[in-house]
Symmetry: C2
Subunit: 338 residues, 2 copies
Amino acid sequence: MAQQGRKRHVSITDVAQQAGVSITTVSHVLSGQRPVSAATTAKVRRVIAELGYEPNQLARGLRLQRTNTVALVIPDITNPFYPQIARGLQNVLGPAGLQVLVTSTDADPAVEDAAVQQMITRRVDGLAFAGYQTDHRRVSPAAEVGIPVVLLGGRTARPGIDVVSSDDVAGGEIAAGYLVERGYRRIAFITGPGRVGAPANRVLGYRHALREAGMPSSAPLVVREEISRDGGARAMERLLALRQPPDAVLCTNDVVALGALDAAKARGLSVPGDVAVMGFDDIEIAALTTPPLTTVSIRPLEQGEAIGRLLLGRLDGSAPRGAQRILFDPAVVRRESA
Amino acid sequence: MAQQGRKRHVSITDVAQQAGVSITTVSHVLSGQRPVSAATTAKVRRVIAELGYEPNQLARGLRLQRTNTVALVIPDITNPFYPQIARGLQNVLGPAGLQVLVTSTDADPAVEDAAVQQMITRRVDGLAFAGYQTDHRRVSPAAEVGIPVVLLGGRTARPGIDVVSSDDVAGGEIAAGYLVERGYRRIAFITGPGRVGAPANRVLGYRHALREAGMPSSAPLVVREEISRDGGARAMERLLALRQPPDAVLCTNDVVALGALDAAKARGLSVPGDVAVMGFDDIEIAALTTPPLTTVSIRPLEQGEAIGRLLLGRLDGSAPRGAQRILFDPAVVRRESA
DNA sequence: GTTCCTTTGCAAAACGTTTTGTATTCTGGC
DNA sequence: GCCAGAATACAAAACGTTTTGCAAAGGAAC
């Protein structure tokens, strides 16, 4: 019987009837938009409490042209990066009464387009979008009808669209800088085969930092391998076999670092005593390796919060006219491997 | 300018005007609810395409009393279990045109109640709810107004509310059965201090399986420790110090198993040669330990899908009247540690 | 006692759909 | 040539709000 749901939803009309006033008056009591006498206010409030009335958000949205809903369109909620984004978003949007509609697209452009379209028909108040190679064309239908859009991880500036992204170049610099500071003299980098995207940018930052420090950062020290645990192990073996092996190695992500750790262990080397290892991304596993992995966090939670603030700013009109681009400096998470 | 969004939303009225027909006709063309002449149909369709018209889901929902939205209320989207649920849910709901509204509550009853209330005012078509100690009272306001509800992980039968849950007792049985089958003769269990919930049920299943196999499953072999990596290590040390140490140990979850692995390694024992180790939950890390951890998956993705199907069944009325309770048998994920 | 504000409450329109009842036109049978 | 019935299109109501324009009532000033 609880299941049956015989109880009808109570509407503003019910309240008005029960209180013996017009729905206008009820609305005004609720919004304070126009003054209502104390007596009437009290009566209406009592009835509202008795009946447990809550305004229908659908009708409200239709009238107000505002749904208090924000869309989050991402490649895959199952990738641990995005739940953090979602959480950050909710952290700042929730207190403002907004809720989050999430869709995973598997980074398929057709699915992405459909999702954006779907969100438009639902009249979401804002859209946070992340693709694989985040492309502003995916979201332009939303932007065109005036929905505030924030792109996550866009590589380059977009025409008039806000972007939140982690600064991978800075990340490479920061990581390398940390190692330099800790006294390592020969710092290697294990990266992927590609020449674009986060891995490439991290190498860029690494090179820059080492150049500044007057240390070598090229040829034998930068090794390209498949981005995987095995790839990391193979790369590490190559580095350790060098005539002048590195005393520290930076890995383009934590999984690769895991492989590097494997290879070092296989050679009987101690980490960080014989060779330091450092990763990127601070995935959950990083805290659980032996030794626990020193890594660089790209602060997804804060990125999510930044997206939320950006959206909120657009909604209440407090944001500047032009597009904003918020870059996050990654942060070193110091554990024991470096 | 893309940002400005001067383009107004196109409504059914615009289409009707442009096509020189009434909005009724446009609606009928779209729904096929009543026949419309071929000529008119063609004309209307052309205009719709030209204008890029898509019905406003808000207005639609208001009229139809159906929003094509399902709420997912969970403790924390950041806990890797729930994104899998979310994904499973979307997998079955998406093709039916439903979208998912997600909220994290941190398992705070006040927040949970607010979230459920919020979802009701949004007139979601269904509600999937998971709490820490999932309690049906949290969701009864929704059930009372006739919103189909599915509880995730409820421990006992609920009055008329569908439940999806993993069968922890069966999980314990399956895990222990697997070890028995592989020839282990002295099987221990590391569990938490509590006497209720998943850990306790797993122990129950384990006991049952061993009793059936005529093996010991009590006193020194079941050890209670804090559920953490360190706790796992301490428990394992106690087990290994026994006069008759076990040849296999089951851990109440993967993190505890990680600790057990640590302790075995510290003693210079090989896994699974000297002692086998097995976990529960199949978290991401499980595949990355050395040796990779054999564990038991509670199949969260499938649970999410089951929730979706349950909800869909309630929505299209194809479900039986009574409440359903779907229990998932966990599945052994065989790797190398046992 | 009239006039003029101020206070208080209501009626009606609008948001964008779907659906029902009805009016018009067409078709064919007689 | 008329009529029944089918085919086609439309007007209007309803979903549940918020907001604007007005009207009624009350009080103060003259």
